[in-house]
């Protein structure tokens, strides 16, 4: 049995039907993750134990466990409790798409929060002092000085994290979603041509990872235009 390049080409458009869900998952999870990351970051650097402690537990848990297990806990695990099925959140948790966004977003949020924290710690302390000396308030210093610089410092690491989230969306197929991987697995179960179809799926992911990489590199270059070249 040999690899049939024609079948790879033929299956690409079929698998691409799952692209919409994959991209929506990626976009929503990434945005949700960034939001969570910012909240977590603020909690962590607040200097108040009752804020920073839960934030650290959250980060520790989501970085220390497999995403697949996190998805299963949220999708299959939560409905174990009757009160969740009766709660106003159930219309959301009922949907596999929403469960995946929550799981992927929570996971990404934990990582992005650490990335942003690295960025914040990387901001020269002198700059916030200059802000203080100029009379800027603490929120003003954070918004106008620390955050813009921290974001630039975080972008290279974030670019990797974004691609990780893209790859993690493939796990959505384990909770019934027909994303690229879900469609590919279904096709394989019907055609028994695992090589061609999964390779076609991998090509789609690689293409999209490459696009994301280029886009984020452009963003990074833009954000870094004030940094001296060389030296």
């Amino acid at each position: 049995m040999t690899l049939d390049p024609q079948l790879i080409l033929d299956s690409l458009p079929l698998i691409a039907q799952g692209l919409g869900i994959t991209l929506k998952l990626l976009l929503y999870s990434a945005l949700f993750g960034i939001g969570l990351a910012i909240i977590t970051l603020v909690m962590r650097i607040s200097g108040r134990w009752y804020l920073s402690w839960p934030a650290q537990v959250y980060i520790y848990f989501f970085r220390g466990t497999p995403i697949l297990v996190q998805i299963f806990i949220i999708y299959y695990g939560l409905p174990q409790f009757g009160f969740i099925r009766g709660s106003i959140l159930w219309p959301i948790l009922r949907e596999p798409f929403a469960c995946c966004v929550i799981a992927l977003g929570l996971n990404s949020g934990a990582y992005v929060s650490e990335i942003l924290r690295g960025g914040v710690l990387g901001v020269d302390k002198g700059l916030t002092e200059a802000g203080k000396a100029l009379g800027l308030s603490s929120p003003q210093r954070f918004i106008y000085i620390t955050a813009p610089i921290a974001i630039r410092l975080s972008l290279p690491a974030y670019s990797n994290e974004f691609i990780s989230t893209l790859k993690a969306t493939a796990l959505a197929s384990t909770v019934t979603l027909m994303d690229v991987t879900g469609v590919a697995r279904t096709l394989v179960s019907q055609t028994y041509a695992p090589y061609e179809i999964f390779i076609a799926a991998a090509i789609l992911y690689l293409a999209f990872a490459w696009i994301s990489y280029v886009a984020l590199a452009w963003l990074e270059a833009r954000a870094s235009r004030y940094v001296k070249k060389g030296n």
Binding site: L127, E129, V227
Partner: protein, 248 residues
């Protein structure tokens, strides 16, 4: 002490970093318009003292009163002091992500609530004063060190401060750039600004300072006019310091 009212008063100020005693019962007063130069070996507490004046460091004991506001935990007093006191750092600390003009406009807009045009006008005025108006739209990284430090001085001036603090403003500069910064500082002194400078530039101290404070090991060892300090220092420590610094 001159007869003018003091705008900065330090009274038995102490500051510890863990077990290390950075400031020990430092008392000092600076009157309006006075130019004070602080010198001493590294680790003597000069920077710590100047940073206490706008509360970049919190002092552990004693009192600091700036322009009538005592610095305590009360953030309203801290804000009031910082609005009235400008500061220039050794490493310039320009905001790298903002152009020169935006560096200057940031605080007036956020703290003084000036509109864009007012802030820009003020910024240009001071850029001209430090003689680099043509660099307004560049990023700090595109300027030389001397230019950056002059931008930093202009940035502080944009807040229209009554007092200026300089924390070793020339020690991160290449020798050929020191003069251009000192020139701007001398201009400022001539205009009657109240200034506290931590510096090793003894030429500048001799020509500009009204009073020189020599610190060592967290204490003020000597306080005198430049004339007296340079010609006949009172203590052995000051003599040693002077011989080291003037030997070069």
């Amino acid at each position: 002490m001159s007869g003018a009212q003091p705008v900065i008063v330090l009274d038995k100020v102490c500051k510890n970093f863990g077990a290390f005693r950075a400031l020990i019962n430092v008392s000092l007063s600076v009157s309006k318009g006075e130019k004070l130069v602080v010198c001493g070996p590294s680790g003597s507490g000069k920077s710590t003292m100047i940073r206490c004046i706008n509360r970049l460091e919190e002092h552990d004991g004693g009192h600091i009163i700036v322009n009538g506001h005592e610095l305590t935990k009360d953030s309203r007093n801290i804000d009031a002091v910082r609005r009235e006191v400008g500061m220039v750092f050794q490493n310039f600390n320009l905001f790298p992500h903002l152009t020169v003009i935006k560096n200057l406009m940031l605080a007036p807009r956020l703290v003084r609530h000036k509109n864009k045009d007012e802030a820009r006008a003020v910024a240009m005025k001071y850029l001209e004063r430090v003689r680099i108006p043509n660099q307004a739209d560049k990023y700090p990284s595109q300027l030389s060190g001397g230019q950056q430090q002059r931008v930093a001085i202009a940035r502080a001036l944009c807040m229209n401060p009554e007092i200026m603090l300089f924390d070793e403003p020339t020690s991160a500069l290449d020798p050929e750039m020191i003069a251009e910064v000192l020139d701007v500082m001398t201009d400022l002194a001539r205009d009657g600004m109240t200034m506290v400078c931590v510096t090793h530039e003894m030429g500048f101290a001799r020509s500009v300072a009204d009073k020189i404070v020599f610190m060592d090991a967290g204490e003020i060892v000597e306080a005198a006019t430049p004339e007296a300090f340079f010609t006949k220092p009172q203590t052995e420590r000051a003599r040693q310091f002077l011989s080291q610094i003037l030997a070069h």
